[in-house]
């Protein structure tokens, strides 16, 4: 501690260690946040249901989505990424997951909403298995913190049967 640079070096090093401790503590407190997500999503209309020239089934849907994600937000939350996936089983794959719609919630004020949306990404099967198929709509969310690890979770919101015939 005999020179200016020596003191400055000591101070910066110790300040950086404490900064790491602060971030770790903020991240640690997130573990005590037990969120309760309320969400609902349902298919209200089949816009198009056809077989592509390549032989794969393709469906286009209109969804009614409402959710309340406010409990996911803590002071350490940067943003929340959500996506709605259609999950179903076929003989080839035990689990097919197709993302139909996604959204980034930037803050708590925008975490409660209701919307009617057409699927952002088409529901295309690997093959021709969709007629009369039952699929689950599952809401996945990834909570991105300012410091610490990303938290991911999911919730099944509803199930739906596709029609037996193409439109």
């Amino acid at each position: 501690m005999h020179s200016f640079m020596h003191r400055l070096n000591n101070l910066v090093t110790f300040a950086a260690v404490l900064l790491a401790v602060l971030c770790a503590a903020a991240s640690f407190l997130d573990a005590f946040n037990s969120p309760s997500v309320h969400a609902h999503a349902e298919v209200i209309k089949i816009n198009r249901f056809r077989k592509q020239l390549s032989g794969n089934d393709e469906a286009s849907l209109t969804l009614n989505i409402s959710m309340d994600l406010r409990s996911l937000f803590t002071w350490n939350t940067k943003q929340v990424f959500i996506f709605l996936a259609a999950e179903y089983e076929t003989s080839k794959n035990s689990l097919n997951q197709i993302s139909l719609w996604d959204h980034i919630v930037p803050d708590k004020d925008h975490a409660e909403f209701q919307a009617q949306v057409a699927n952002k990404y088409p529901l295309i099967d690997q093959g021709s298995n969709l007629r009369g198929k039952k699929f689950e709509l599952v809401l996945h969310w990834h909570v991105m913190p300012r410091t610490g690890r990303m938290i991911q979770d999911k919730m099944a919101v509803s199930s739906f049967y596709l029609p037996e015939a193409y439109t």
Binding site: R7, L8, N10, L11, A15, L18, L22, A26
Partner: protein, 93 residues
């Protein structure tokens, strides 16, 4: 900066930083603002640097006390040239 001053400045630096970190965390958590925590901590680090890094007069209140010059007076310092030649002579031996 004298010895006491160095000790004080290091102690002051550690205490101040820890206090600012604790205050920043408490305030940030209370008002749920991560940004406010970082701002308080950053200003705390800046303030601590201002207090403990420069060589303030506060850190120079305990100058080193050397021995009385009476001992040195009793054994007068030989001439510089004479000392140099002596050293040379001893080396050559």
């Amino acid at each position: 900066m004298d010895w006491q001053g160095q000790k004080h400045s290091e102690f002051l630096m550690q205490i101040l930083l820890v206090v600012f970190a604790v205050v920043a965390f408490a305030v940030g958590y209370a008002i749920e603002s991560f940004q406010m925590m970082m701002l308080i901590y950053a200003s705390g680090v800046f303030l601590t640097a201002l207090i403990t890094v420069p060589n303030w007069p506060f850190f120079n209140r305990h100058p080193l006390k050397w021995l009385d010059p009476s001992e040195a007076d009793r054994h007068p310092k030989p001439q510089a040239t004479a000392a140099a030649s002596k050293k040379k002579a001893s080396k050559q031996k």
